[in-house]
Symmetry: C2
Subunit: 223 residues, 2 copies
């Protein structure tokens, strides 16, 4: 259909434009010495809770940190995250199902990036659309909670492919839901061979120390 | 930006085109006497498991039933659903994050709708994009599992607004995750006042009988 073809063409232009902005942002982040981490997942996989604990953890380790949070509506998450004491800004996307590089750029307006060690960007909860948009980040996490089903990597392969690290969340519920760890790992690595996987419970604290160490080591290595 | 404006225009055309197809499908479903139910939710909220049990339940009540399942990749869900004995077809969307009416139309090719009492359509797991696409269904369920967080209706208002019924799933985990029922109901009805809500556990069977009765009564009323 003509309209569909035209939609694909226009969409490719938007994606190309996004890549240009993302590349410029990555350069800017690098020059400012800020390490940028983005989080993608389904709604309700625990991005905000993990981020809340991570902000505290990184601040306690003596680093300067801030966060941007994307949502269709409400600034609930920004309010939650601000409790950590870190500067937080909300990006309200309206009906847009993902963040784009220029939304991140606009949200950073007025912040001096050179005064930051870490910047976290929480995407809209969606396992499909965010996959196509580079945000200029250094590290992209895909979160995947034990309650979602071990088959998700096979069903949403692109998002796992474009991420650098898989974080299995809500691990405190693993037993209650009969989480099949072996199948989950096999499915993640079927989609992205050799992908690094961490397990955390932001609720019980399990795995959070290892996650913090991973993060600090990654930043050190990038400098 | 010019490209963005053009994207919005082309997208509106696609949506309008979808509405035309959906209206024709609704007419066709009605004439054939088949009651069409669609399911939307996040990935991992339990659409396939609820549908698997529902197909068996409706078949056991003497009705003729079939299902279409949308996924980006894999036909795992179609295989799971086929175990119920009902005819099932997979719609593989590739990178498209939602079903559209013409995908449903094509997938029905060769099926005699007059031989069906119920047709179920499981959308791609996504709380954003499916909201914009009418599939010609009689009843749209939005599923929402107790593990996702009570705030989801406020954060994804459009999908709750376009649905006819909210189904709270995985209710067997309510206690383990500290599900706040009152907050969840309040948030659902803040977005869609008076919305009907059912609670089910496809795993333990809790609430499944009430759900089955609801479904049969709705079909009777539509005829």
């Amino acid at each position: 259909m003509a309209t569909q073809t035209r939609l694909v063409e226009v969409r490719q232009k938007v994606l190309k434009q996004n890549d240009v902005v993302a590349r410029a942002m990555r350069q800017r982040f690098h020059e400012a010495g800020v390490y940028v981490v983005s989080l993608v997942s389904s709604p309700g996989s625990g991005k905000t809770m993990l981020l809340e604990k991570t902000l505290s953890l990184v601040r306690e380790a003596g680093h300067r940190v801030s966060a941007l949070v994307g949502d269709l509506a409400t600034d609930n998450d920004a309010q939650r995250l601000a409790r950590s004491g870190a500067p937080v800004r909300q990006i309200t996307t309206g009906t847009v199902c993902h963040l784009e590089a220029d939304m991140v750029e606009k949200a950073l307006d007025g912040w001096n990036l050179a005064e930051l060690d870490f910047l976290f960007v929480e995407n809209v909860g969606n396992l499909v659309c965010p996959a196509s948009y580079d945000l200029g980040e250094d590290l992209r996490l895909v979160l995947f909670s034990v309650t979602e089903g071990e088959d998700k990597p096979l069903k949403y392969p692109t998002i796992f492919n474009t991420a650098d690290l898989a974080v299995v969340t809500k691990i405190e519920l693993a037993e209650a839901v009969g989480f099949d760890r072996e199948a989950a790992y096999r499915n993640i690595r079927a989609v992205r061979p050799g992908m690094e996987i961490l397990e955390v419970s932001a609720k019980s604290g399990q795995g959070m120390e290892a996650w913090g160490q991973f993060l600090l080591a990654r930043r050190d290595r990038s400098r």
